[in-house]
């Protein structure tokens, strides 16, 4: 019985030494992992979505390869609706090798506005969850996560249509001047068309107009529509139907009342 006991003893001692050496070297290897984040960039994709790109360089100078590296970014609104999600995955980074990838997150503004039109008119905050996961030394999975808030500036903040001013154009028509104003708080320039249709209180279309706007980020826009309406259909009150069409987003459900 002595021999099997000794064999067990020698074997376990050998494996203990091996395990401790492995663990210590694995922990030490983490020090030799370098993550370099490049300058984040923002572009518009061919299908008119906003694309955030973050170049990332990972250098593995440790003793072991790095497996299953993944970086996930989730952007959520106040109601935890997922506005955008992007994942970057690298299956393996061998020791003494480096990998360069670009982490992309795409925001579809139309989908966002379909969920909540407040993003168009009100400044708010977006929650961002970042998760980085990897398997070090082929054995120890690690995951780090953080969350922070990012302010969202509305592209049509403080959007307002003034009261229509009627100028007699001829015996049958008025020239209507309608002021429009808003502030572009979003991080991109808003350029596109705004179209309005004027209805009287009997839902009869009186007239329509369209203007082109090109509003740089963090600036105000003040303009006005001019169009003719028939005198006979004009009432004291009614409503405007507003459509906004830009390459990045379109919105057609805005109704603004006028008069009493």
């Amino acid at each position: 019985m002595q021999i099997p006991i000794r064999i067990i003893g020698i074997t376990t001692t050998f494996f203990w030494i091996f395990l401790i050496a492995f663990f210590v070297s694995a922990v030490y290897s983490v020090k030799d992992l370098h993550f370099d984040f490049g300058e984040p960039q923002m572009n518009v994709t061919a299908d008119n979505r906003i694309l955030f790109s973050l170049p990332l360089n990972i250098t593995n100078k440790g003793f072991y390869s790095l497996r299953s590296f993944n970086l996930t970014t989730q952007i959520l609104d106040a109601e935890n609706f997922v506005v955008a999600k992007g994942t970057t995955y690298i299956p393996i980074i061998n020791k003494d090798e480096a990998a360069t990838v670009t982490h992309n997150v795409t925001i579809d503004l139309n989908a966002l506005l379909q969920h909540d039109e407040n993003f168009l008119f009100n400044d708010t905050e977006l929650k961002i969850y970042e998760t980085v996961g990897m398997v070090i030394a082929d054995l120890i999975p690690i995951q780090a996560s953080t969350n922070y808030s990012m302010p969202w500036g509305a592209p049509l903040y403080n959007f307002a249509l003034g009261q229509p001013q009627y100028v007699a154009a001829n015996s049958t028509h008025f020239l209507v001047r309608l002021p429009i104003s808003f502030e572009n708080h979003v991080f991109f320039d808003v350029s596109g068309n705004i179209k309005i249709k004027m209805y009287n209180n009997a839902n009869l279309l009186l007239g329509e107009a369209q203007i082109f706007m090109d509003v740089p980020q963090q600036s105000s826009y003040n303009g006005f529509f001019e169009f003719y309406v028939s005198r006979s259909g004009t009432t004291d009150n009614g409503y405007f139907s507003v459509s906004i069409l830009t390459p990045l987003f379109s919105y057609e459900n805005l109704v603004v009342s006028y008069g009493g």
Binding site: M1, Q2, P4, I5, I8, G9, T11, T12, F15, W16, L19, F23, V24, V27, Y28, K31, L139, I140, P141, I142, Q143, A144, S145, T146, N147, Y148
Partner: protein, 146 residues
């Protein structure tokens, strides 16, 4: 008189051996701590306390096991040492999923594969202690028969 002198000699030798083993083990821990683990103590709260508690209990079991060598109790303490390693690791690492948070950053390390290996090795140690205990009783019985 000669018998008690031999016993005292044996006990002194055992105590000396246990002390040397304890010092060597603690020195190994100190070297490991200074070289690798000290840098992590800032990131992981209570790391030093957790590791030191483990080392102290392990050394106590080792010393007691050494002092009681030549008796069945040595094997009991060896078995207890093996079980203590398993239990302490599982409890201190909360089942193997170790998480630590700092402000709004959280870090989760999955030690389960490592714990599985440690458990396996400790179970081998436990089995060895059981075999040694059986062997000890076996040899004792043989001696009595003779």
């Amino acid at each position: 008189m000669a018998d008690s002198k031999t016993k005292l000699k044996q006990l002194t030798f055992k105590a000396l051996k246990a002390t040397i083993k304890g010092i060597l083990f603690y020195s190994a821990y100190l070297i490991l701590w200074m070289l690798f683990l000290a840098s992590l103590s800032g990131l992981i709260p209570n790391l030093q306390q957790t590791v030191e508690t483990f080392v102290v209990i392990y050394i106590i079991l080792m010393i007691v096991g050494e002092i009681t060598s030549g008796t069945i109790f040595k094997h009991f303490f060896d078995a207890a040492k093996a079980l203590f390693v398993i239990c302490y690791l599982i409890l201190s690492l909360k089942g193997g999923i170790f998480s630590v948070g700092y402000q709004n950053l959280s870090l989760v390390v999955d030690f389960r594969p490592l714990i599985a290996i440690v458990t396996l090795l400790s179970l081998f140690g436990f089995a060895k202690s059981i075999f040694q205990a059986i062997n000890f009783l076996n040899e004792k019985a043989e001696r009595l028969q003779i």
